[in-house]
């Protein structure tokens, strides 16, 4: 094995304090706050609150949306000295094209093409197109820790040998949803954010983008080294942090462990420090618990505001600045430190040797992430406390599936699977009763469609494997569209009340990771909690996230994919829903672990690429040929072709079958399961059910029943269209 480090070879940053590292550094050295009253969009009433707005001539209403443009600006900066496109893109964002969608909805726009950039996946896909990246383009949405989680995933992908360069970061633009949402939670300081101050009253919602070009090879432009990352979940409350900062402590501790350093190696802590009374108090408790004597620390959010998904990535770029320029940024806007915090924040910017920085990001749902960034020379000099990271050879994790569940318009697991096997369609909206079954009324009283589905799927998958020892430690969820009901209801009430009475409950529920955090609360799952939003490939992205981020311990995890069909939003947003397509939704959940003993089957994701990649289908065939049992081992090929990609998908399928010289039966699962983003999760459940019965019903393939034997003990779940993905299930 070769020693390997992950280098930060390019940084891109656009935030209210400037565009580019040089401008950012200048503002930070001047200790100037960029917070100012909102003027990006007009308000129907009231004085605009202070926000962190990026200055620029761009209009509010643009195609591609402002989020996409901010991301591209930062990406170009990060790639300025790159030799070629990155092997992959991993991006964190919470609201995607929301700012544009809000305006379209106000104008009662019905042309669905205008909504094509709504989905959070489109930000990464847009960047991939612009920078010619044909590898995986993944999107994580874990609220305000999204950027940090994206960078943590990139770190592990590089360590695994699956990529050599990755563009990773986070982005969010201001929009009404977050501006009014945080205000409705009374989390906005009307006088501008002053983190850690005794008179702090909250945050300032902001926007921006931060991007890092991460590489396993050191270049002349190396700004820093990404030493380690740690993720945790509070499993405590949908919006409030754990009062003792339990999850925050765990994330920092795990980052230190991951970097193989101890807390005394940290020279500066870049705090999450939003300026809300609860966050700053909880974070201070966690810091004091971890450090006997805390190093210099500050929150830069008094200068930049809180740019949500972008914040962790922007602060990672600023951490690079800290180590490369030996600069400790000030805790801008701080006047009098809150003595109950027991911390001494940096009041003025200071030049001081900084070798190792710890940077924190915490989000709704108790989604926490910490990164450790070091000065490159520190890590190369002898006597350092840090051990070299060992690069594994290219590895793909094999998960063992111990239990599963699914639901669709056809009903619960048994009902859905039986109907599909009979050749009957289950495409439809799952009944509210089905998705709420066995869930205590108090638990779900505030939950609308998607979180109910998620909880129902999670509890049934857990019940199915029937053992306490399978209680999940981490959660990985894919959802193409997130909580559409909560988002729609929030925006509707906001508009109907003349922007006066937005619902705090709907805002908290509208974040993509709300469902996964509910699952974590239900099970007490304090490990990584990652929600991916990859459009029609969201479930596959969740599998990738699990592969990269599942803790090394044998502790089990829960993997799921779910989407809700919303009568207004789905037909507008989902390109695969034509006017006559019946609205469908559902999903599936899997209790997974690394322990094959007693498992129903194994799951791997051998392939995930953009269909624009050169010879993508040939590469798919080569990859699958190299799997155990090879191409001949497949007893069934389930194919997901989103309706919007029908022609392209069929061509891809024909080419695949030709290149692979296969006559294996094919089942186009969307014909029976329906058109919704995470339909592939249900197909995966169906595959397991075929293993259980030992055969593939002829009704699915237009032939006779086909027995699965020792030679043909695998099922392939192919995703075609814009991206090409392969999930492989194998019976033990």
């Amino acid at each position: 094995m070769k020693n390997k480090q992950v280098f930060i070879c390019g940084t891109g940053i656009i935030s209210p304090v400037g565009s580019g590292l040089a401008a950012t550094e200048e503002t930070l050295r001047r200790n100037r706050s960029a917070l100012a009253p909102l003027d990006l969009f007009p308000l129907q009433q009231g004085k605009p609150l202070p926000v962190g707005q990026v200055s620029g001539p761009e209009e509010e209403f643009s195609t591609p949306p402002r989020t996409h443009r901010l991301a591209l600006i930062a990406a170009k900066q990060a790639l300025v000295n790159a030799n070629g496109p990155p092997d992959a893109i991993i991006l964190g964002t919470t609201t995607g094209g929301m700012l544009t969608t809000e305006k379209l909805l106000q104008n009662r726009e019905t042309d669905k093409k205008r909504y094509q950039f709504h989905g959070i996946n489109t930000v990464a896909d847009y960047l991939a197109d612009e920078v010619n990246c044909t590898g995986p383009a993944l999107v994580v949405s874990t609220a305000c820790s999204s950027g940090t989680v994206a960078i943590a995933m990139a770190l592990n992908m590089l360590r695994s040998g699956q990529a050599e360069t990755i563009l990773a970061g986070g982005v969010d633009s201001l929009c009404r949803l977050t501006y009014f949402g945080f205000h409705s939670l009374q989390l906005v300081d009307p006088n501008g954010s002053k983190p850690l101050d005794i008179n702090r009253q909250g945050m300032a919602v902001a926007e921006g983008a931060g991007m890092l070009l991460l590489s396993t090879t050191r270049t002349r432009d190396t700004h820093g080294v990404l030493l380690g990352a740690g993720l945790s979940c509070d499993a405590y409350h949908p919006a409030a942090p754990h009062p003792e900062g339990k999850g925050a402590f765990m994330a920092m501790q795990k980052a230190l462990n991951d970097a193989s350093i101890t807390s005394d190696a940290i020279d500066y802590i870049n705090l999450h420090g939003t300026g809300t009374p609860d966050n700053d108090l909880a974070e201070s408790k966690a810091v004091r618990r971890l450090f006997t004597t805390a190093p210099p620390l500050s929150s830069i959010k008094g200068a930049t505001g809180h740019s949500l998904a972008a914040s962790g990535a922007i602060e990672a770029a600023i951490s690079c600045l800290a180590v490369s320029k030996d600069l400790i940024p000030a805790n801008t806007n701080l006047q009098k430190v809150d003595p109950t915090l027991g911390l001494t924040p940096q009041k003025k910017p200071k030049d001081s040797p900084i070798n190792v920085v710890l940077s924190n990001s915490f989000g709704f749902g108790g989604n926490n992430g910490s990164l450790i960034i070091a000065e490159p020379e520190t890590c190369l000099s002898p006597g350092t406390k840090q051990n070299k990271i060992k690069l594994k050879t290219k590895t793909k994790t094999k998960f063992a599936i111990h239990g599963y569940s699914c639901l669709t318009g056809g009903g619960d697991t048994n009902s859905t699977l039986q109907k599909i096997k009979e050749g009957t369609t289950v495409a439809g909206r799952a009944e509210l009763e089905t998705i709420s079954k066995k869930l205590p009324p108090r638990l779900i009283r505030r939950l609308k469609r998607l979180p109910r589905m998620a909880l129902s799927l999670a509890s049934q998958a857990h019940e199915h494997c029937g053992a306490e020892r399978h209680t999940p430690h981490s959660i990985f969820m894919g959802t193409g569209w997130g909580a559409l009901s909560e988002t729609y209801d929030f925006l509707t009430r906001l508009t109907e009340s003349g922007e006066q009475f937005p619902s705090p409950t709907d805002f908290v529920g509208s974040v993509h990771n709300a469902s996964a955090s509910q699952i974590a609360i239900m099970f007490g799952s304090t490990g990584p909690n990652i929600t991916t939003g990859g459009g029609d490939y969201s479930f596959e992205q969740a599998v990738l996230a699990a592969e990269l981020m599942m803790d090394k311990s044998p502790a089990p995890a829960l993997l799921l994919g779910a989407d809700e069909g919303h009568p207004v939003f789905s037909p507008l947003l989902d390109p695969s829903l034509a006017s006559d397509t019946s609205l469908a939704d559902g999903g599936a959940a899997f209790s997974i672990s690394r322990e094959p003993k007693g498992a129903l089957c194994s799951l791997t994701i051998p392939y995930y690429h953009n269909s624009k990649a050169k010879d993508a289908m040939a590469a798919l065939v080569t990859t699958l040929s190299a799997t155990t049992g090879g191409l001949d081992g497949y007893g069934l090929i389930m194919v997901g072709i989103p309706a919007a990609m029908h022609q392209k998908g069929e061509e891809q399928l024909a080419l695949f079958m030709q290149l692979a010289s296969l006559s294996t039966p094919v089942f186009r699962y969307r014909t029976l399961i329906g058109e919704f983003a995470s339909a592939s999760a249900v197909a995966t459940a169906l595959a397991i059910s075929c293993f259980e019965s030992g055969s593939v019903p002829g009704t699915l393939t237009g032939g006779t029943d086909r027995h699965l034997n020792h030679q043909q003990n695998k099922i392939l779940v192919l995703g075609l269209g814009e991206h090409i993905t392969a999930l492989e299930l194998c019976r033990p």
């Binding site: 409705s184 939670l185 009374q186 409030a240 108090r442 009283r445 505030r446 009475f501 937005p502 705090p504």
Partner: protein, 88 residues
């Protein structure tokens, strides 16, 4: 029980979706937040919106909020005290 208390009971059950409660078994003197009803800080904010929308009373101070929403009886009293046109 005042008309306002009855009205508030119905509203709270509705906006907080307290499906397992009826106006009759919602005790106006029981702790509203953090008690057996499972009402938390997000619900408090939802009630803040309702009080502003339906009664024109703004509660944006945490200290006052904690007192007002401690029990339904306190909420009723606060609304009565702060509604200029109230005659009940």
């Amino acid at each position: 029980m005042s008309e306002l208390t009855k009205e508030l009971k119905v509203k709270l059950i509705d906006i907080l979706n307290l499906q397992d409660l009826t106006p009759e078994n919602l005790d106006e003197n029981a702790p509203l937040v953090g008690g057996e009803y499972g009402i938390d800080s997000i619900d408090v904010l939802e009630m803040v919106v309702m009080v502003e929308k339906d009664y024109g009373i703004v509660i944006n101070n945490q200290e006052i909020g904690e007192k007002v929403f401690s029990t339904l009886a306190n909420l009723t009293a606060y609304i009565k005290e702060n509604t200029p046109a109230s005659s009940s």
